[in-house]
Amino acid sequence: MIRLPWLRILLFACLWWILAEGRVDGWLLGCLAVIAATWTSMVLHPPAAPRLHLGALPAFLVYFLINSVRGGGQVAFMALRGRRALQPVFLELPVNLPVGAPQVLLITVLSLMPGTVGVELADDRLRLHVLHQDLPVVAEAKALERHIAALFGVGI
C-alpha cells in the first residue's frame, strides 16, 4: 500500500478549482493536471526534503502583509518628499539561518520589507541597501529571521 501525498493532491486540486474559476465541466482534464502536478512535485521536491511547519505560516503571512504595507507606505512618503528624505547606507549583517531555502527566503522578503533591499548574500553575511541610516533595520531583520526559523523549524 503506497501512501498518497494527500496534502499535495488537495493543494493542486484547489489550485485547479481556482484556475478553472469554479467551473466543473473540465474536471477530467483537471484530474490529469492534478496527478501530473503531484507527480512532478514528488520528483522535484521529495517529502524527505526539509518540511515547512505550516503552523507557523499564518503568523508569518500576517507579519509579511503588515510590513509590506508599511514598506510601501514609507517609500511612497519618501517619494513625495523627494531625495531630501533619503540618507542611504550599505549595511552588513551576519545571517544565522542555514544555507539554502531559509537564506533565500530571508533576502527575498527583506527586499519587500520597509527600507531594505538585499544586495549580496555570501558566506553567511548579508549586504543590504538601506534607504535611511536611522531606520531600525537590524532589529527588523532579526525579527524576520526568527519568523523564517520558525517556518522551517530550525534554531538560530
Binding site: 510601501g72 517609500v75 511612497a76 517619494a79 527575498t108 519587500l112 533591499v117 544586495v119
Partner: protein, 104 residues
C-alpha cells in the same frame, strides 16, 4: 447591504492601488540612484498591484474567480524579489556607489 457597499470599497481599494503605482513612478523620477529607485519600484508598485487585485477580487462573480486574481500577487512578488536582487547585485558589481547627501 453588501451589494451596496462593495462597489465603494472596491473603488476605494483601486484608488489606493493607483496611488501606490503613482508613488512608485514618482520615486523612480525623483530618487537619485539605482538602489533607491529599486526600493520605490519593488515596494510601492507591488503594493499598488496588491490593492488593485484585492479591489477587483471584491467585484469578482465567484469566490474562485476572486482567488484567481489574488493568486497573481505572490507570483508578481516573487518576480520582483528575484529581479531586484539581480539588479542590486549587478549595480554593486558595476561599482555603482550609493548616493550620499550633498552630492549632486
Amino acid at each position: 447591504m453588501t451589494e451596496l457597499i462593495m462597489p465603494w470599497i472596491s473603488g476605494a481599494l483601486l484608488i489606493v492601488g493607483a496611488f501606490f503605482y503613482a508613488a512608485g513612478t514618482l520615486g523612480l523620477l525623483r530618487f537619485p540612484d539605482v538602489y533607491s529607485r529599486l526600493h520605490a519600484l519593488a515596494k510601492a508598485d507591488n503594493l499598488g498591484l496588491g490593492f488593485v487585485l484585492l479591489g477587483l477580487a471584491l467585484q469578482a462573480e465567484s469566490v474562485a474567480a476572486g482567488l484567481k486574481l489574488l493568486l497573481i500577487w505572490p507570483l508578481a512578488l516573487a518576480a520582483s524579489a528575484g529581479v531586484s536582487y539581480a539588479i542590486a547585485r549587478r549595480a554593486d558589481r558595476l561599482g555603482v556607489k550609493p548616493w550620499r547627501k550633498g552630492s549632486p
